[in-house]
């Protein structure tokens, strides 16, 4: 029986791999990710792309019956360390910290397509992630990249597509950090015709020992060619960051924002999207005293654009559990699904992914039940139309030991 299954799945993989193969997913409850209500329908996938959605009557090489099942876009986690940290406490398995560069630091070439975190998060519903460097002491750290979790050695994604920063409690003063942040943006604005060397002569660049790569990255941020995530929590910091965004016209995203209810109207007005962990209601620092389980609902009702972050490393897919808790405390369900998919694609300019619409890559997950229930798992994960193997190192361990348990 086991071998039969194996053979069957091998045949399936071979058939899907064949060029020109197509897949028809029948009769599932489809959440397209765009925030509208789910509907029951079919999805036809050809050449890795969604060919059509609706009531489709067509012959296909693979047919998946999704009756009673839920279909969503593959989820995209906006804040992860997938591919660059294998084991948290082992420096030799980490590539998330720079020794030499600052904002110009790129983690892209550290990405390990064979990391065990890829099959693990993929089998739990993530089809792509944004991987970020570790937050440095500077207000601006390095750049993160976008990765498709297909595990292929030819990595697909977007190199250096976001910068990370932080404003808040620090060893010095947050006011100085805000000044430095503004000055760094100012350095980026000074760049003319990619002449980075000239800007390096400024006292600020010299003091922080910046390199041409750093100035290049600042140039992109300052000229709206690179989105910037700033982790921040205290209401006063959120307000100052809104002012800076308006002054310099940068593509700013705020993460954390646990004090946001105190400045929610200003935040809404600014149009700044946020990345939150709806389950983190702990006043972990004096910057996040307003922390509460109602954060998502308050922001959602005001009309702030929401994405999610999970509190634990490695299980980035648990942002689903956060989204579920957000809904339990009053966030709109479809907005929560969007926050796990289309919103991330829109905010970060990820083309062709994040929603189930004609012409997009077929990054599709079919769930046994409601994906916002953390106990729910995918039955099928498709990336660019290709069915992913859901076996993980963890499931191999489980199989080995359950067999032993039954034998005893």
């Amino acid at each position: 029986m086991k071998y039969f299954k194996l053979l069957l799945s091998l045949l399936l993989i071979i058939s899907i791999d064949t060029y020109g193969s197509d897949t028809l997913i029948k009769n599932g409850t489809i959440h397209t990710g765009d925030g509208t209500r789910a509907f029951i329908g079919d999805i036809y996938i050809k050449n890795g792309v969604i060919n059509s959605i609706g009531n489709i009557d067509i012959e296909a090489s693979t047919i998946i019956d999704a009756t009673g099942k839920i279909i969503t876009p593959g989820f995209i986690a906006p804040i992860t360390a997938v591919g660059i940290i294998e084991i948290g406490s082992l420096d030799v398995t980490r590539d998330d910290e720079a020794d030499y560069l600052n904002m110009g630091f790129s983690i892209f070439r550290a990405f390990n397509a064979n990391s065990t975190l890829i099959p693990w998060n993929r089998s739990n519903g993530l089809t792509s992630v944004i991987t970020l460097p570790q937050q440095a002491s500077m207000p601006l750290a390095g750049m993160g990249s976008f990765f498709v979790l297909d595990g292929e050695m030819n990595v697909s994604g977007m190199k250096d597509m976001v910068m990370l920063g932080k404003i808040g409690a620090s060893s010095g003063s947050r006011s100085e950090d805000l000044d430095i942040f503004e000055n760094l943006i100012g350095l980026g604005k000074q760049v003319r015709n990619k002449n980075y060397e000239k800007v390096l002569e400024s006292p600020m660049a010299e003091f922080f020992e910046l390199h041409p790569q750093d100035i290049e990255a600042l140039d992109k941020v300052a000229n709206k060619n690179l989105p910037l995530i700033i982790e921040t929590n205290r209401a006063s910091d959120i307000k100052h960051l809104i002012d800076i965004k308006n002054k310099y016209d940068i593509n700013l995203i705020l993460a954390g924002v646990e004090d946001a209810p105190l400045v929610v109207d200003e935040l809404k007005e600014s149009g700044i999207p946020v990345i939150i962990n709806p389950m983190d209601n702990i006043p972990n620092s004096f910057d996040e005293l307003s922390s509460s389980l109602e954060l998502a609902a308050i922001l959602n009702k005001t009309g702030v654009t929401i994405m999610f972050d999970s509190s634990r490393s490695h299980n980035y897919y648990l942002m689903r559990q956060g989204a579920g808790n957000a809904v339990a405390y009053g966030m709109n369900y479809e907005d929560a699904i969007s926050g796990l998919s289309k919103t991330v694609a829109d905010v970060f300019g990820i083309k062709g992914r994040g929603s189930l619409v004609k012409g997009n890559f077929a990054d599709v997950v079919i769930w046994e039940s409601d994906p916002l229930e953390p106990a729910s798992v995918p039955l099928y994960v498709l990336i660019e139309g290709k069915e992913m193997d859901l076996v993980t190192r963890s499931s191999r361990l489980k199989d080995r030991y359950i067999e032993k348990l039954i034998q005893n």
Binding site: S285, H314, L372, E373, P374, A375, L397, Y401, I402
Partner: protein, 460 residues
Amino acid sequence: MKIKYKFFTLLALLLVIGIEAEPFDSTYIAKPSATSLLKNANIYDGEGNEFLGYDLLIKNGKIEAIGSDLDTQTEDAIEYDLSGMWVTPGIIDLHSHMGVYSAPGVKSSSDGNESTSPVTADVWAEHSVWTQDPQFSLALQGGVTTFHVLPGSANLIGGRGTTFKNVQSNTVQGMKYPDAPHSLKMACGENPKRVYGSRRQAPSTRMGNVAGYRKAWIKASKYKQNMNSYESKSAEAKEIVSPPTRDLEMDTLAGVLDGEILVQNHCYRAEEMAMMIDIAKEFGYKITAFHHAVEAYKIADLLADNDICGALWADWWGFKHEAYDMVQENIAIIDQARNGSGCAVVHSDDAIGIQHLNQEAAKALAAGNRAGFNISKARAMRWITSNPAKAAGIEETTGSLVKGKNADVVIWNKNPFSVYAIAQKVFIDGNLMFDRQDVTSKPVSDFDLGIIKPNANRTQ
């Protein structure tokens, strides 16, 4: 002469009291509570049973009965119509650091690890607890009525842990669960060897860890022997021989050897747990639970055979090498070991996780059943109620909805194995401690009071 005589009588009396009333004893006394009738509820009793559309009667702070159409026979009884709602025992967390790692997590509140020596059996976590930690109230709103606070895992032997009721008090004694045994926190693996190895002192290896435990138990065995031999002497002999000098470290370890203090052992790897079991046998003590135990599933039968609980996370992994082999089925495998005789506990070790232990149990249950087990929700409810009660040594008085036990009860709006279930009302000893419909019922710690706006509280 007369005065002197009285003075000595008083002194003797004080000495007697001093011996009988232990320092730091619980001063918690349940307030008188109303009779409450929870009608037409769906009930998980924490013993593995499910009752659909039943009533639960609470009287004198205790569980009186579960049944159909119960009558209070009391005029002033409070009735709650709970059609479609769920009732469970109060949730119990066997592994918390609330109060010893309070929020905000600042240096001045970091009181959980006495990481100055690998064996600190003399310290008690309760001596670090800050009664105004805002995390207690958040846990209560997640249905947690009882929690066990442990020292951290920096040391081989980290000190005593204490069980608390989730009630507000200005004294630690006022929160302590009456008559609950202390625990002893022990830790295997990476943490102690990292903390002390980095200072170039023992232990710096896992073999150093084992030597450290055994040396401590050898000393404790000798101490216990000396104490016993003094105690067994006649009154006349005691007048001649002075008693052995008390040693706080040895007091705790001797308490373990006497079976009065329960060992809660932080340990991830299978072979290390097996080693710890042998050490316990060598010195004649019992391990109550292995905590974190990411690899417990590899030795599930061994744990069941030795009556050791696994206090586990649903899915944490990868933050350390010893936490690399996680399977989501860990909890279910422990539960099902030796024909279902295993003792599985879902623990948090986390101020966020403690508020959602029902969700963590739901994940573990779903994973187990996908792997082929057939575990009911009613049984899985034991993982966050009666099993942690047993592992904390308080199963006689709480952890399930059985007649005579404390009325520690949670009312949920939905089935508690759903992410959408939110605790609506939480009772401790029959008293309504939190009511979601009444925002003023949220316990407000002194820390929460007026800290953002003078006229408001942090949690409102």
